[in-house]
């Protein structure tokens, strides 16, 4: 993170989402600044995935606002002040979404290079040589073997696929990346390297991100701030190491004390 940027990139206020009579997440508010990494933790059913879907524009919340600093236009409610095409453009350019299962975030049958280049073509890039050069550059930055650039990700390991998914998202220079359990599907030995890569990239690119996970080890290493959710509500919110080392809420205390020692 570089020095102070005083305008928030994202401002969430009073966000609530209901499925019928069930409240999936209730009255969530926070701000995110450029370069900040926010972790959202909670067990399955806590509402963290619904919250991520609302934040990333894929689900319209029942009430409340998700305001994003749209380039050149300032903070706008992505659900109510942007049209569907504008929202899609945002997702393809200024935002990235890294999913737990890279098969959902990649096209498995086209080459690795095309997976990265596709996002550039979607925003109008047409020059083959330039697209190829950017794909090469990003394969290198996520430490993928360039010899594999013409192979489809169906031939890649899980860790390689996740690196490719990250490259595909970052090639358009997003300012905000959403990550849903980005390391959970990977072998432990691969997780550590990927976490180091994500830390390095967020620092180099002053990238803001929101990481949803149930893994407290991941948020300890990756996130600056932490939101703890239970039954759709934010029960604790603060500096990551403060929340983990001096938890105040009974549920956070239970969560932290339940980590298995190695």
């Amino acid at each position: 993170m570089s020095d102070f940027d005083d305008a928030p990139l994202l401002r969430v206020s009073g966000l609530t989402h209901r499925y019928g009579n069930t409240i999936a997440c209730r009255d969530v508010s926070f701000e995110l600044y450029p370069g900040e990494v926010l972790g959202i933790v909670g067990e399955s059913g806590s509402g963290k995935t619904t919250l991520l879907d609302c934040l990333s524009g894929r689900l319209r919340p029942s009430t409340g606002e998700v305001a994003y600093d749209v380039r050149g236009r300032g903070l706008l409610d992505i659900h109510r002040q942007l049209s569907e095409p504008e929202r899609r453009m945002l997702m393809r350019t200024d935002w990235g979404i890294v999913l737990q299962d890279p098969r959902e975030g990649l096209r498995m049958r086209v080459s690795a290079g095309a997976n990265v280049g596709e996002r550039l073509m979607a925003i109008g890039a047409r020059h083959y040589g330039e697209i190829r050069a950017q794909a090469v550059d990003w394969m290198e930055r996520v430490e993928l073997d360039l010899a594999r650039i013409d192979d489809p990700p169906s031939t890649f390991s899980g860790g390689m696929r996740q690196r490719l998914q990250i490259a595909r998202n970052l090639v358009t220079g997003p300012r905000l990346v959403f990550m849903d359990e980005p390391t959970s599907g990977l072998d432990v030995s691969v997780q550590a390297r990927l976490l180091d890569l994500l830390r390095r990239l967020t620092r180099e690119l002053n990238l803001a991100s929101i990481v949803v996970t149930h893994d407290l080890g991941v948020v300890r290493l990756l996130s600056h701030r932490l939101i703890v959710m239970r039954d759709g509500e934010v029960v604790e919110h603060g500096l990551t190491d403060r929340v983990l080392d001096d938890p105040r809420h009974p549920y956070t205390q239970l969560l932290v004390s339940s980590i298995l020692p190695v």
Partner: protein
């Protein structure tokens, strides 16, 4: 550089029937540039808890933790997370008792990272990291290895290097010499004295009397801050 007012801390253990454990109450402290304040008192008296409160790792129940950051007094007890992180990045260095690092990252990169964070170039950061690791007598063969398999003393030296490769105006040291041999203890003593000579304000917990006597300019005994029963 540091001004603590009316600081009170207790822990409430909700999953142990809500029992409240008071640690200390109404602490007032001031540490100026060039001072090294030694936290004293028997084990369990709250020395680490106070040090962690100064680092905003623990949240006090009441009171203020002012640090001089970017030429202003910032109260870490109530500051926004990003302000706390900015203060930690630029002003408040901290050596914990144990190294906590991303697995599989080489020692020298761990030491370089806080320098990269403030915009120092890669080459210079690595050079400075190498210099401080050499000074702490960490064998060069270990620099490119992740510290997970290092001995306790080697890990602790990496931990010290991570903080001392930078020049923080405020240093919080939690038993930095506990697992070091006499030779390396002497190196750390020298580094702390250089820091205070250069104007750093230091607060530390030191198990060894020789270290306390060599670096301390003042002592604060936590027994004076026992909360009323």
């Amino acid at each position: 550089m540091i001004r603590v007012e009316q600081l009170t801390k207790s822990f409430v253990l909700h999953n142990q029937g809500g029992v409240e454990i008071p640690v200390f109450a109404d602490i007032d402290l001031e540490v100026t540039a060039g001072e090294c304040l030694v936290l004293a008192g028997p084990s369990g008296v709250g020395k680490s808890t106070l040090l962690r409160s100064l680092h905003a790792n623990y949240l006090p129940n009441q009171g203020r933790v002012f640090v001089r950051h970017r030429e202003e007094w910032v109260d870490l007890a109530v500051a926004e997370p990003r302000t706390v992180l900015d203060a930690r990045r630029h002003t408040v260095g901290h050596v914990s008792q144990f190294l906590r690092a991303i697995p599989r990252v080489p020692a020298i990169d761990l030491v370089a990272e806080p320098m990269l964070d403030i915009g120092i170039g890669q080459d210079e950061a690595i050079d400075r990291a190498a210099a401080v690791l050499a000074r702490l007598n960490l064998p060069e063969a270990l620099w490119r290895l992740p510290p997970a398999t290092f001995s306790g003393g080697e890990q602790q030296r990496v931990n010290i290097a991570i903080t001392f490769a930078r020049d923080y105006p405020i240093l919080l040291l939690d038993e930095p010499t506990a697992s070091l041999d006499a030779g390396n203890r002497a190196v750390v003593i020298e580094m702390i004295r250089e820091a205070t000579a250069n104007g750093a304000a230091v607060v530390g917990i030191f198990h060894d009397r020789d270290v306390r006597e060599a670096v301390g300019t003042r002592e604060f005994d936590l027994r004076e801050a026992r909360p009323a029963a």
